[in-house]
């Protein structure tokens, strides 16, 4: 029913825009990753693999990447442990309060992410809220220094931030489970535990995969929480990109790292898409 002109009119503007402001920049980044910087801080447009070689040769780069993945993995697990039971509770036990509680999970997403990371900093610091509280009730004599400027602080903060992201797709998946399947399972004599493990959990796997992907990918690329709360031992891969962009002025090396991250993320998205398809029941 839509004419050619209509289709062209809705397709061309976004297509052109996205090509100019997304596709070309990403390709340009790919080009940059083969270039280098001269002594006088200008970009040398000679094509070679030196940047990628440096990523393999210098320990700090791949070690930081591995650490980032380890932090992201922990954030993912904790976000699922927070999000799944909560989603289950809302979907199956919350009754009429469901919608209200759902909104309550969403609201923190509207609070600035920077501000929430900052709030954790004021809680965990050596004269922060938690330490002074512990001393106030005489549980500790000296501030616990490990709370702030550690991977622990980064994992805690990122879990706080990404729990709603893990929750949302899981909740959607649980809401889509036909309730008569659950009833049938009960009627046929399954215990609540069996019903959960054999009916509900398998049917909610696509939601879990989507939630885990969000939590992992978004925390993997985070650079604020590590800078605010991570200290030297909590530095993540994005922090290196940011410092290469700024003080070090080595855009080409930063581009090489970014491009590796891009490949990693796109690869993960493909895998999670395939997993979701494999486990979806419709």
């Amino acid at each position: 029913m839509f004419s050619r002109a209509y289709k062209a009119a809705v397709t061309l503007p976004p297509l052109v825009w996205v090509t100019v402001f997304l596709l070309i920049p990403y390709l340009l980044m790919f080009c940059y990753s083969f270039w280098s910087v001269s002594e006088s801080q200008t970009i040398v447009h000679s094509w070679n693999l030196a940047n990628y070689g440096e990523l393999l040769r210098v320990d700090v780069y791949w070690q930081t990447l591995l650490r980032s993945m380890w932090i992201a993995a922990r954030v993912t697990v904790f976000s699922l442990l927070m999000g799944y039971p909560l989603a289950y509770f809302l979907s199956f036990s919350a009754g009429r309060k469901k919608d209200l509680l759902y909104q309550l999970v969403i609201i923190p997403l509207w609070v600035s992410y920077l501000v929430r990371a900052y709030a954790w900093k004021t809680i965990l610091g050596s004269d922060g809220v938690l330490n002074t509280l512990l001393q106030y009730v005489h549980l500790t004599k000296h501030p616990l220094e490990f709370l702030l400027y550690s991977p622990f602080a980064v994992v805690l903060t990122l879990t706080h931030i990404y729990t709603p992201f893990a929750f949302l797709p899981i909740y959607a998946a649980l809401e889509h489970i036909p309730r008569n399947l659950v009833e049938a399972s009960h009627d046929l004599g399954a215990t609540p535990g069996q019903t959960f493990w054999k009916v509900i959990l398998p049917l909610s796997i696509p939601g879990v995969v989507a939630g885990a992907t969000f939590a992992f990918v978004l925390s993997l690329g985070d650079f604020l929480a590590p800078l605010l709360l991570g200290g030297p031992s909590g530095i993540m891969i994005s922090n290196i990109v940011v410092s290469l962009f700024g003080a070090a002025y080595n855009w080409p090396l930063g581009a090489a790292i970014s491009f590796c991250m891009l490949l990693l993320v796109v690869r993960l998205l493909f895998v999670s898409e395939r997993l979701e398809k494999k486990w979806s029941f419709s």
């Binding site: 002109a5 297509l15 996205v18 501000v115 929430r116 609540p192 994005s238 855009w251 930063g254």
Partner: protein, 282 residues
């Protein structure tokens, strides 16, 4: 049925689920509560218990020129980002739903990529584009960055709305002699009112909070998150808590308004259906 399931069969487990849900909500809201509480604390952030509640920090805040400049900058950026991403995101959603063109699958992935890709990658690649083009970074480059990255939000929201849309109305409009332009403004857009407003609110909030892309595209004028970011590195004061509290209150108002708008529309739809059913019965 849901109530029955929760009351009789999940009873032993549901007490644990309830306790878990309470704990997760505490985890999600604790930092926000502390943030707000300490914006009134004369002694500064941290230190338990808070005493000498005062509005001094709000007074300091209202006298703080650079913060309000950055708020104005952020508002400009957010408004412009909403306009750009809707102007391109709505047609992109229509194109994805209604048109076939070569490269459509790539186009879809590309549009949605900034949603999940770490912001620093999009930011760095756009910085490279502007560098190559010889464009100086300024609020304009941030606007282009936000507008482009957030097309993804507009497209997903509107696309979801389109799939629920009944095409018969558009068809009728075209059959009755309206042209595509008239049909778009009089039928398509009004029917997509809710997803468009929802997307606008979301884009606005995300832009007001955005830091990863802005970080690479910032010129002389700061946006609010970057202004806060700069101050956090110099040390923390409850002034940050105060400005965050104010933003939180505005976000809450936006959520409540949005929620009421949606409820009213759903109620309208419900009434229409009820009316139609009654009409049938009569």
């Amino acid at each position: 049925m849901e109530l029955l399931v929760s009351d009789t069969r999940f009873d032993s487990g549901s007490r644990w689920l309830l306790a878990h849900a309470v704990a997760v909500f505490a985890f999600l809201y604790l930092p926000i509560a502390i943030l707000i509480l300490y914006s009134f604390n004369r002694e500064g952030v941290g230190g338990f218990p808070p005493h000498h509640l005062t509005l001094d920090w709000y007074r300091t805040l209202f006298a703080d020129g650079p913060i309000w400049d950055s708020v104005l900058n952020s508002l400009q950026v957010a408004f412009a980002a909403v306009v750009i991403s809707l102007m391109l995101g709505v047609p992109a959603a229509l194109a994805l739903e209604r048109a076939k063109f070569p490269g459509k699958a790539v186009f879809r992935r590309l549009v949605l990529l900034p949603l999940i890709l770490p912001g620093i990658i999009t930011g760095l690649s756009l910085a490279m584009l502007f560098k190559v083009m010889g464009t100086n970074t300024s609020l304009l480059t941030i606007i282009l960055g936000h507008g482009t990255a957030l097309i993804s939000v507009a497209t997903t929201e509107v696309f979801a709305g389109l799939q629920k849309l009944d095409r018969a109305q558009e068809e009728a409009s075209l059959d009755l002699g309206a042209n595509y332009w008239q049909t778009f403004w009089r039928i398509t857009v009004p029917n997509l009112k809710l997803p468009i407003i929802g997307a606008a609110l979301l884009i606005f909030t995300l832009s007001m909070d955005e830091i990863a892309v802005s970080f690479f595209l910032i010129g002389r004028d700061n946006t609010l998150p970057l202004e806060i970011w700069g101050r956090l590195r110099r040390g923390i004061t409850p002034e940050i808590n105060a400005v965050s509290t104010i933003i939180f209150v505005f976000s809450l108002i936006a959520i409540v308004l949005w929620y009421r708008l949606r409820m009213r529309n759903e109620a309208d739809a419900g009434a229409e259906i009820a009316q139609a059913l009654e009409g049938d019965a009569a």
